[in-house]
């Protein structure tokens, strides 16, 4: 029941993100989708990922998007012409992909259940990141540094 309400809210807000004619509203609808994803993580007993989702996505990425919207001086009011003339192609491709994925998933997994009480403790995630996955973890930290330096180098006025 909680899942159905969450999924409905997320899909409606997601469709609004890609169809609304107001850029700032698209960013705020994106917040609803991201918060819904965090709630889905809670449902799956992944509370650490849920907290990171709220901190990184809602706290940082949406703020970055709002900065981008302001710096590119998008009109804050209603704006005609945010869509190009490929909307029909987009709808056909998206619905076709959705149909294909739904068919494959229904065929492959049917009514397989997630085992109840399948709880992975946060301590296990920490052990795993600093144990078997320590090399990807270090690579991600170098990637973040490179992205930071790259963003400054690209966007700098000179």
């Amino acid at each position: 029941m909680a899942f159905a309400a969450l999924a409905l809210a997320m899909v409606v807000a997601g469709i609004q993100v890609v169809t609304t004619q107001n850029v700032v509203r698209a960013a705020l609808y994106l917040v609803i989708v991201l918060a819904g994803v965090a709630a889905i993580y809670i449902l799956l007993a992944a509370e650490f990922v849920a907290i990171v989702q709220v901190l990184v996505y809602i706290g940082a990425i949406v703020v970055l998007f709002l900065f981008g919207i302001m710096l590119t001086r998008a009109p804050v009011g209603r704006d005609i012409g945010l869509d190009n003339d490929q909307r029909l192609v987009g709808v056909v491709v998206a619905l076709g992909l959705l149909g294909l994925l739904t068919w494959v998933l229904a065929d492959g997994f049917g009514r397989t259940k997630v085992p109840a009480g399948s709880i992975l403790r946060t301590a296990a995630i920490g052990d795993s990141i600093l144990g078997p996955y320590v090399i990807p973890f270090e690579v991600v930290s170098v990637l973040l540094l490179a992205a930071l330096v790259g963003a400054v180098a690209i966007a700098r006025r000179d």
Partner: protein, 99 residues
Amino acid sequence: MVLNQFLFLAAALFCIGVYGVLARRNGVLVLMSIELMLNAVNINLVAFGAFRHNVAGQVFALFIIAVAAAEVGVGLAIVLLIYRNRSSIDLDQADLMKG
């Protein structure tokens, strides 16, 4: 909980993101649609992690969140540069490489 309910939700979010990437021409909105697709993949990873009772799903979801943050930083810097050079972030007009 049925595993497929999470997979169907992720598929729906992914397809919404695909539509956004194809049909939007504002650069910032295209980046938002890409975020929708990345989140759909993350739902899949966490759902399969719970299904297999394996911590790798959550670990890779965390890695993807970090990579997505880096991607948005660089992507918005590129969009800003396009805006500064052309006074517009209409991606239909950014066609210098079109033959």
